[in-house]
């Protein structure tokens, strides 16, 4: 059901995109007004969400430790999985962000011969990583539309990405990789019953929206070539605050642009914000140093306690009878 609604939502967006592309005044809107509006929504939304997390206090130091603590000098500690200081935390976070360390731990349980067996299950890690890295490379490659002359590192990146020169224009490895990643993530959600059971509309919709962006991009590059100079003019027009409506670009370009706008507008309101959230997680970004250095809770307030005096008042006679020392006779 959630899947069906997501598909309908994506199809409606597609129709909308086609409709916009075929109407000259709507195209004007799409090129001149909407990108700025979307950019503001995305940036403001992203910042708003991150700031909201940022200003919420971290009352306790609660890292999840995944290795030996630093205690006695002769016991070898694990400085990354159980960091004792800031350097270790940076290493740990870098591993999480660039390599998806925790996901690499993934196992899959199965009952075999009346006993749970924990099989290795690195597929989610592999395709998840593949997807995110290729997305990053693709976004970076797109910078060539926004800078003139094209910075050398962008050209190098594109050249490397198209290294195998399969087809004309060359197929980018990152394009193939992102398709593989998306396909896996989507099929996994459909096929694994327990993942399907927990999937919400937003889970399918986020995936399908990215699929739509990627597939229109690929269509444009390989099947419906668009005048890249025109596209570059549009992009440069945006950043010089003098947007120009291109001439003779294909409908697919407008569809691609529509989906990108939808994705960026959807981003701050959705689970895609995990991109910002991962930096903030108190179980990962804190050092396990709570006994070494006192962690301060800003809202720490007095609570009602049961004092020793109250305790002794209640039990004094019994304490004396048992021969235990008391403070007040």
């Amino acid at each position: 059901m959630n899947l069906l609604i997501s598909i309908i939502a994506i199809l409606s967006l597609t129709l909308l995109a086609v409709g916009i592309a075929l109407n000259q005044s709507l195209v004007y809107l799409l090129i001149v007004i909407i990108p700025y509006a979307i950019f503001v929504i995305f940036l403001a939304g992203f910042i708003y969400r991150v700031v909201k997390w940022w200003v919420t206090p971290v009352p306790f130091r609660i890292p999840t430790t995944c290795g030996q603590q630093k205690s006695l000098p002769w016991i070898k500690n694990n400085p990354v999985e159980n960091p004792a200081g800031i350097a270790g935390v940076i290493m740990r976070m870098a591993q999480e962000i660039f390599l998806f360390r925790s996901l690499f731990r993934n196992t899959e349980v199965e009952i075999i011969d009346g006993r749970p067996v924990y099989g290795s299950a690195k597929w989610l890690w592999f395709f998840g990583l593949l997807f995110h890295w290729s997305l990053l490379i693709i976004v970076l490659r797109h910078l060539r539309f926004f800078v003139e002359p094209i910075a050398p590192w962008i050209s190098t990146l594109s050249a490397l990405d198209g290294f195998f020169e399969i087809g004309i224009p060359a197929l980018y490895l990152s394009d193939a990789a992102i398709l593989a990643g998306l396909t896996f993530l989507f099929l996994r959600r459909l096929v694994l019953t327990r993942v399907r059971y927990i999937s919400l509309f937003t889970d399918y919709f986020s995936l399908l929206l990215i699929v739509a962006v990627v597939s229109t991009g690929l269509l444009m590059r390989h099947f419906f070539p668009t005048d890249l100079n025109q596209v570059k003019n549009v992009a440069l027009g945006w950043i010089t605050l003098a947007p120009v409506v291109p001439q003779g670009v294909s409908v697919v370009f407008y569809m691609h642009l529509c989906f990108v706008c939808a994705l960026l507008a959807w981003f701050p309101a959705s689970k895609l914000m995990h991109a910002g959230g991962i930096f903030m997680s108190p179980t990962r970004n804190l050092a396990n140093s709570s006994r070494m250095k006192r962690h301060i809770n800003l809202w720490n307030a007095p609570v009602k306690v049961h004092t020793y005096e109250e305790y002794e008042d209640e039990f004094r006679d019994k304490m004396k009878a048992a021969g235990l020392p008391v403070d007040k006779e």
Partner: protein, 533 residues
């Protein structure tokens, strides 16, 4: 301990992982007997000034909630969203990748999809979305949001009491989302309208009043420790002293009351007494701070602080230099991650230094409380105690990492070092079931009661099966651990799944091997079982 009312183990192991046909929001909770715990008794709530004390049970239709219960819960959520970044973030960033799903021992043991940490969290997240996010307000169900109804509250109660706050899911989550945080706050919210379980609230009330969960009064503490000293004399011929409430001691020793109250914890406690005697430690027990454990952690952050406060207060009153803590799991989560922040700074104490070896415990220099495994490992490494591991030759040991020392502290090698020096037959369980991937006993976080037995046996199954594997392979007959709840609950778990394996603390193992000055020839271990030397 009776297993009469629950299915036999060979039936319980056939677990159906296929989710039900109906969507989870449309599948109501079923309070099936054997899978939930009795409600908190009114007098305990009253003693702790907790709201809505009354007579009720979870299986009742009417929970006798206050009239404005929804407003109370939503206000409570708002307050906590503003106070805990963990809570707000964990409500927001989950992508439902499902990596956590089969990491939870309750899911592995029950197949109930709401025991997947992701879905257990969604129970709360769906309400968060409905009342605290724009998309949830606008799009409702489509955005994964739902209204807060009595059925939702019942679901929270049921499933937040099928989570032991063990943090295993958190180790596997790519964002470190910790179900323990969500359960802790979920239980806090339930407590705001008087919904809690007696196995948590009674120990908390006892602890507040008498200093320990079991409600043992000062004379009782003394009697029990003296009784253990008698047993030690019987086994070893050495009379150990039992210092209690002694002003001017160097060290305050705090351990869970389970250690001096019930088998097999008592043998661990005998171990402490023998060790401290042997090294001539100037220490004291306290009757006021006679509990290391903290069932506040299973109630609310505020209750953690209220119960924990007496440890520093007593250390100050007695004028000790620093504090030593016994073997316990969630106790160490509180000591390590909360105590200093909540009730510190302990400026009246000095940085812990072992009076025997001179070792400075740098890792505890602010909190000023040292784990006994750290303390003892240091003694062994410096050659300050003599051990004869052959005295444990009748035992084949495996070791269970308790959840909290493993995943909220990283105390992994210290206990292993002690075990390796104290016995000759030590076998690790499978890699995926130990250290940071350790599996819970299934009965922590206040769930270790008899009425909840089926849930316990299901939740403990993965741990038990890992033990069974080493039993079959290496003839393991003893499961060592460093947690008082483990000692109590793993015992039933072994009886049910792996009969023949008994449970012991690491310091019991140590004390079996400990060569004491002036001891008689030892023919039995601390339990009176014959040695085979």
């Amino acid at each position: 301990m009776s297993f009469a009312k629950i299915p036999k183990s060979d039936q319980l192991i056939s677990i159906n992982y296929a989710p039900p046909k109906s969507a989870w929001m449309k599948t109501p909770v079923d309070f099936r007997s054997g899978t939930w715990s009795y409600s908190g008794v009114a007098k305990n709530l009253t003693y702790l000034d907790l709201p809505n004390p009354r007579a009720w049970q979870p299986a009742d239709v009417d929970w006798k909630l206050p009239e404005n219960w929804q407003a109370i819960i939503l206000a409570g959520m708002k307050e906590r969203l503003e106070k805990y970044r963990s809570f707000r973030l964990f409500m927001d960033v989950c992508v439902r990748c499902g990596a956590c799903a089969d990491k939870c021992h309750f899911y592995i043991g029950s197949g109930d999809p709401k025991n997947m940490p992701v879905l257990r969290a969604e129970l709360l997240r769906s309400v968060y979305r409905r009342y605290f996010t724009m998309t949830g307000r606008l799009f409702g169900k489509l955005a994964g949001a739902r209204d807060l109804t009595v059925d939702v509250l019942k679901e929270w109660f049921y499933y937040f009491h099928q989570c032991t706050e063990c943090r295993r899911c958190s180790a596997f989550c790519p964002f470190g989302i910790d179900q323990a945080e969500i359960t802790i706050i979920g239980r806090e919210l339930l407590n705001l309208v008087g919904c809690n379980i007696n196995w948590v609230i009674e120990p908390a009330a006892n602890c507040f009043r008498t200093g320990n969960h079991l409600g043992i009064q000062p004379g009782g503490v003394k009697d029990m420790l003296e009784f253990l000293a008698d047993d030690i004399e019987d086994r070893t011929g050495v009379r150990v002293e039992v210092p209690i409430n002694k002003k001017g001691a160097d060290i305050l020793f705090v351990t869970p009351s389970g250690d001096y109250f019930a088998d097999p914890g008592t043998y661990t406690c005998m171990g402490y007494l023998m060790l401290f005697h042997e090294i001539g430690l100037n220490y004291t027990f306290s009757t006021y701070a006679s509990e290391g454990g903290n069932f506040g952690l299973f109630t609310s952050h505020e209750m953690v602080k209220r119960l924990n406060a007496k440890i520093y207060a007593e250390a100050k009153r007695l004028g000790v230099k620093w504090i030593l803590g016994g073997e316990c799991g969630h106790m160490w989560r509180v000591i390590h991650q909360y105590m200093d922040t909540m009730n510190g700074p302990a400026e009246f104490l000095s940085e812990p230094v072992s009076p025997i070896t001179g070792t400075r415990f740098e890792n505890a220099k602010s909190t000023k409380m040292v784990h006994i495994a750290e303390f003892t490992a240091d003694l062994i490494q410096n050659g300050k105690i003599k051990l004869d591991p052959r005295r444990n030759d009748h035992l084949k040991i495996t070791y269970h990492d308790s959840c909290n020392p493993a995943r909220a502290m990283g105390l992994l090698e210290e206990p292993r070092y002690i075990i390796q020096n104290a016995c000759n037959h030590f076998y690790e369980m499978a890699e995926d079931t130990i250290r940071e991937k350790t599996l819970c006993c299934g009965a922590g976080a206040g769930l270790g009661n008899d009425e909840n037995m089926e849930t316990r046996m299901r939740g403990g199954m993965p741990r038990a099966m890992a033990v069974k594997q080493v039993k079959e392979k290496h003839d393991v007959n003893r499961l060592a651990c460093i947690c008082a709840i483990d000692r109590a609950t793993l015992t039933s778990l072994m009886d049910y799944w792996v009969p023949g394996v008994k449970v012991m603390g690491v310091h019991e193992l140590l004390a079996n091997a400990l060569i004491m000055k002036g001891e008689k020839e030892r023919t039995t271990d601390l339990r009176g079982e014959s040695l085979i030397i």
